[in-house]
């Protein structure tokens, strides 16, 4: 009998096998934190996939696209700047594919994140706690320029494979799971990939679907991954024509919903998930009839400090 070890399976075949573990997350109704006759509020539980967050979708598509174009293989390191879920998603996928991974992140990224990344075998390069992700991006860009044979720089903020992941997967899933009934899509802006890709995909199915973009109410905030576009560097992939409405959500509103979602819906979610629900509820309250969909990007398991503060 001839045995094949996992390292002998061609990379493209491994990517194909892995694809089954990406996306296809459940869509569930919210009925206790909010209820209104003839208005349905639905959320996608994005932590129920490999890597435990919504970022697995863009991370996988970025990697798949780079492999397809011959830019990434087992002999080159995948490199990106991220303090959050994208890094963890890259780490899970890279581990399966046998691609070495280097993540540049600010030193004040949470201990939980650093521990997860180390456990998955990631090489970590720290930048100053004062520089935020901008400095991490600059460092990653410097490394990629200096050592082009050593690194493939994924650059999630500018890479179209980021938003295309949501156009290809998130949007059709929502369209099918709501049986074509979705009327409003609500999502926070970070890299803006989720909002841009899902909105484009849904509007292609039905141009009357309304897309509502959420932002933190203040320049400094506690919504991991979100950007206050008025004061932040706007990601290159953001498409300003897509949002039908913009709403602001404060960190304290989000913290309040973390508590309510835990007590009334039995789900312990991240502050950005709670902020998405806060926005979706604002939209749902304005309607007499409709189906409002948002995402819970991740659960609360990586937010020990926030949980300690809230409970």
């Amino acid at each position: 009998m001839l045995l094949t070890t996992i390292s002998e399976i061609p990379l493209v075949q491994k990517v194909h096998q892995l694809e089954k573990q990406i996306g296809n997350t459940p869509l569930i109704p919210i009925r206790n934190v909010f209820w209104k006759k003839d208005v349905q509020l639905l959320v996608k539980l994005e932590w129920q996939q490999l890597g435990a967050s919504v970022k697995t979708r863009p991370a996988f598509n970025i990697i798949k696209s780079a492999i397809g174009r011959g830019l990434l293989h087992q002999g080159i390191r995948l490199l990106d700047a991220t303090s959050g879920n994208t890094g963890i998603a890259y780490a899970h996928i890279s581990a399966v594919l046998g691609i070495p991974l280097t993540i540049v992140l600010p030193e004040n990224a949470s201990k939980e994140r650093k521990r997860i990344l180390k456990a998955l075998g990631v090489e970590l390069i720290y930048t100053s706690k004062f520089g935020g992700t901008d400095e991490a991006q600059e460092k990653a860009q410097d490394l990629a320029t200096k050592y082009p044979d050593l690194y493939y720089y994924a650059d999630q903020y500018s890479n179209p494979a980021n938003w295309q992941a949501h156009q290809l997967t998130t949007a059709p899933e929502i369209w099918e799971q709501t049986q074509q009934k979705i009327t409003h899509f609500v999502a926070g802006l970070g890299t803006t990939g989720t909002f841009v890709g899902t909105s484009k995909g849904l509007k292609a199915f039905n141009p009357n679907i309304q897309s509502i973009a959420l932002q933190p109410g203040t320049a400094l905030h506690g919504l991991e991954g979100w950007k206050h576009l008025e004061t932040a560097k706007v990601p290159a992939i953001y498409d300003t024509t897509l949002a039908d409405q913009h709403l602001e959500i404060s960190t304290l509103e989000a913290y309040n919903y973390v508590k309510q979602i835990a007590k009334k819906e039995g789900l312990l979610v991240s502050p950005s998930a709670a902020a998405n629900l806060a926005g979706a509820i604002k939209v749902a309250k304005q309607l007499d009839k409709g189906t409002v969909v948002t995402l819970f990007p991740d659960d609360a398991s990586k937010y020990g400090e926030v949980l300690q503060q809230l409970f």
Binding site: E107, N108, F130, G131, L220, G222
Partner: protein
């Protein structure tokens, strides 16, 4: 005179000033004074009760004020005060100013 480093996203509320001198003796007094001088700055730093938002970290020199005397940490001459978000994300790049 202590020096407060204004993070890039907040500079539009301080007439693009990157550093602001303060003659106040504590972190709380310096932040309140800053908020008084630049009213649009206030909501980004203080909550409705006038307390520094829990998701903002203040550093005096290299030390988090939570490891010192919190908001009552005293400021001495030439002390550098830095305001950074508690999370590592966002788009803040004022490290170069500290070099």
């Amino acid at each position: 005179m202590a020096q407060i480093i204004i993070p890039t996203p907040l500079r539009k509320f301080t007439n693009n000033q990157a550093k602001i001198d303060s003659n106040k003796n504590t972190v709380q007094a310096a932040i309140e004074d800053l908020a008084k001088q630049y009213p649009n700055f206030q909501k980004h730093l203080l909550d409705e009760a006038g307390q520094i938002h829990p998701f903002i970290k203040i550093f005096v020199g290299e030390d988090d004020i939570l490891d010192l005397d919190k908001e009552q940490t005293t400021l001495e001459n030439n002390t550098i005060v830095s305001i950074i978000p508690a999370i590592a994300g966002g788009s803040y790049n004022y490290y170069n100013l500290l070099k």
